[in-house]
Structures are given as C-alpha cells and as structure tokens.
C-alpha cells in the first residue's frame, strides 16, 4: 500500500511517519502532485498556523489538488481545520471540503485545549486552540468549553482533530482502520 504524507512544512510529519512505521507501513513524505495522485491513501497532517499553512499550500498548488483527490484522505489536527471553509486563525479562506468555519475557543477554560479527552468513549490526545463546530459531517464529538467535532467524514475525506499518532492504542486503531478502508 502506498501511503503519502503531504509534506508542506507543517510541524509533525515525522511523528505521523513513525506512527505508520510502527504499524508496518512505510509512508512517503511528498509535496509532489504526481506522487500524491498515485497514492492509495493520503495523509494531510498539520501543526502550526492556519494562515501560514494555507500560504504554503497555495504556493505548492496543493490547495487546488487536495479537494479533487479521489482516494481516502485523512486530515489530522490543523489538516482537518484546513479542510473547512474558513478559519478564524489569521482569518483565512481554507480548502472548502467541509462547509464549516473554524472558530477560536472562548476562554471559559484554559486555551489551548491540551491533553487527553474522550470522543465516543475512546481516549485521544488533543492540542488546539481552534475547533470545528458539530455539523452534518461530524462522526465523533468531543467536549471542551463546547461540543466540537473530534472527527468528520464526507465521502473519501476523513478528518480528526486529535493526534492519532500520539494517542496510544486508540490512535493506532484509528490509523489501522483508515489504512484498511
């Protein structure tokens, strides 16, 4: 199986790569359009700032590519947020795969939301200050300050707000399920 991790200079690509290697899959890190198009599975990771990340995606023309992909795509953390319409982080237009806007948490509790929280009775590791509200594509819900989308799906596009690569056994199961699609 050919798993390509989209490499656009966003934070934790190594951790995602190592997580797949622990599952016996050697992924390819690439920003090459031809390489991404021939993948069986595409991982769209991300740690960092939405506006800065969108600028890099536009520069590499990945903003045009990603919404047209036909194979299963998994967005992780910022990757998930960038798959939405718009983000309050830098007030930037995003990829528009999910017709939702990304919002900043109201500081009723500490922000960022850092640590282990549950979605559908599984423990996952979260690190984020922005969130996607619950919407028609939400498949797992988490609560911190408000209910928000822990996972979403629309056709071949899958997305998780948490970090499966850092979420112990629960995270490994999610990655295994995704690679088995």
């Amino acid at each position: 199986m050919k798993v390509v991790i989209i490499n656009y200079g966003a934070g934790n690509t190594q951790s995602v790569r190592y997580a797949f290697e622990r599952l016996g899959i050697t992924p390819i890190l690439s920003d090459d359009i031809a390489e991404i198009l021939t993948a069986d599975k595409v991982i769209f990771p991300g740690v960092g700032h939405a506006k800065a990340a969108m600028e890099v995606l536009r520069e590499k023309q990945l903003d045009l590519l990603i919404p047209t992909l036909k194979q299963p795509v998994l967005g992780i953390c910022l990757g998930m947020q960038l798959m939405c319409n718009f983000s309050e982080e830098g007030n930037t237009k995003c990829l528009g795969i999910f017709n939702e806007d990304v919002k900043l948490f109201e500081p009723k509790l500490k922000v960022p939301h850092i640590g282990w929280n549950t979605a559908e009775n599984n423990w996952y590791y979260f690190v984020h200050s922005y969130y996607v509200p619950v919407n028609e594509y939400t498949t797992e819900t988490c609560n911190y300050i408000t209910d928000f989308s822990a996972a979403m799906q629309k056709g071949n596009f899958y997305a998780v707000q948490y970090h499966p690569e850092k979420s112990g056994k629960g995270g490994e199961e999610l990655l295994n399920k995704f690679t088995a699609i």
């Binding site: 951790s15 190592y18 922000v111 960022p112 850092i114 640590g115 282990w116 200050s129 690569e165 850092k166």
Partner: protein, 251 residues
C-alpha cells in the same frame, strides 16, 4: 472531559537515564527508550526528557536520542535542557519531539519565547520556571536553581503567556525533593492569573499529593521523577486512586 495528566520526568546524561533507576523487568534500566516505553505502557499521559549533559557534543547526541524515542513512543513527549536558540528547537522538533521546554535562555532573552511561538506554534513551547519562596516572594532561579534572579514567578509567567508560551512547568524549589506535596497555593494563584495549562512539579510523595494538586492546586498536569523511578508509586495505582477520588483521568 479533559483528563488531568501524569507526567514522569527522565533526567538524561550522555544519552542515559540518571538517578539510579532500577526496574527488574527492564534489561537496561538506564536506556531512556526502554524506560519511556514502560511508562507509556503503564499509562503515563506524557513524558518529559531533561538533558543535563553539559558538553558541546550534546546537541547531536540528543537529536539522535529524540529520534529514537519518537520512533518507539506513541504518546507525546517534551524535551528540555540547555535549549537556547530557535535553531535548537528546530532540530529537536524535526527529530520528532512534540514539545520543547525552555528555561534559563528565556529569562536571559524573553524574545526567544515569541520567536519559538511564531515559528513553531505555542503548542510546542513549555516554559519551565524554577522558583523559590522567601519572605513571601516567589523568585525565579536559573541553571537548575543555582542562580537567583529578581524576576517574580507570577509576573514572569504572565509575560511568558503573553509572549506565546503554550504551557507553564512550575517547579517549586521549596518543595522539590521534600516529598511533602506540591506548592498548591502558588499553583492555584498561577492558575487564577494565567489561562494556559500549568504543570505542577516538585514535592510529590504520596498519591494524595496528586489529588491535592489537581484540586486545591488547580494544576492541569503533575510531573514527578523519583517516586516513579524508585517504584514508590506505580502509575496504574496512582491513576486508580485519582479516579476513585473523582479526578478526571485517562484509564
């Protein structure tokens, strides 16, 4: 509900764990990767690796070790010790660290906090503060507590938050090593003052101490070293105890 975090801290020197760790089920208890794996399996929520090597070669050795840990460990981990430039941070994050902890260098050059946050995001920056109370004042200390500064814990933590620190790791030197409990009053004051997560450090001796720091201390996470290394408290027992005392915890 967001769980309170239990974080074992491993001191590393020349790529080896120091502080007389002794686990009979580990072939090599000085191997940071082996010990980290064991803690992860036992339910540690995160790990902190503190490099206390004082040689110029340290950066290369540390990066290789961080990569090895990142390959093996499926929970988040923080690396600290002697980080003084954006470049240091870049190397460690590239090697697979999730967060870095910065201490003395940020006191010397507070701009470093903003530079790291701007470049890599606040989520990867833990500001470590060692402080000691004397005559009702909490003063910040540097270089593992050897040098006193004129900085006040609370104003420094507030400034760090404003400059982009993602978490504060507060070690009370009055409590560290005493096993008499965490500095809960100061921890709670910090939590009232700033709105980023606070990791309590220094003073863990009993399981009740963890309950206390999560309740009266309002801590978001608690870090300890020797009580875990010397098996005075096992992580699964601690988490059961916390759960029984209605502390939200990942089981």
């Amino acid at each position: 509900m967001l769980a309170k975090r239990i974080i074992p801290c491993l001191d590393i020197k020349d790529g080896r764990v120091v502080k007389g760790v002794n686990f009979e089920n580990l072939r090599d208890s000085g191997n940071p990767v082996e010990l980290a794996k064991l803690y992860a399996e036992q339910g540690a929520d995160e790990l902190v690796f503190l490099d206390i090597t004082a040689t110029h070669e340290r950066r290369k050795t540390l990066a290789a070790l961080v990569e090895e840990i990142a390959r093996e460990i499926n929970i988040p981990f923080t690396v600290g010790g002697g980080i003084s430039t954006v470049d240091d941070v870049h190397i460690l994050l590239q090697s697979g660290a999730d967060k870095v902890s910065v201490n003395s260098a940020a006191v010397r050059n507070p701009q470093l906090i903003q530079d790291i946050a701007d470049k890599f995001g606040s989520q990867c920056l833990v500001l470590a503060i060692d402080a000691k109370e004397a005559d009702g004042e909490w003063l910040v200390y540097l270089n593992g507590g050897r040098l006193q500064t004129e900085l006040i814990l609370f104003s420094w933590a507030k400034q760090a938050e404003q400059m982009g620190a993602g978490e504060i790791l507060f070690t009370s030197m009055n409590h560290d090593g005493t096993k008499n409990g965490f500095a809960n009053e100061a921890l709670n004051d910090l939590s009232q003052l700033i709105n980023i997560p606070i990791i309590a450090s220094g003073g863990a001796g009993t399981m009740q101490h963890f309950v206390d720091t999560f309740t009266t201390g309002s801590a978001d996470a608690a870090l300890a070293a020797s009580i875990f290394h010397f098996k005075e408290i096992a992580i699964p027992d601690l988490k059961q105890y916390l759960h029984q005392h209605n502390i939200p915890i990942r089981l």
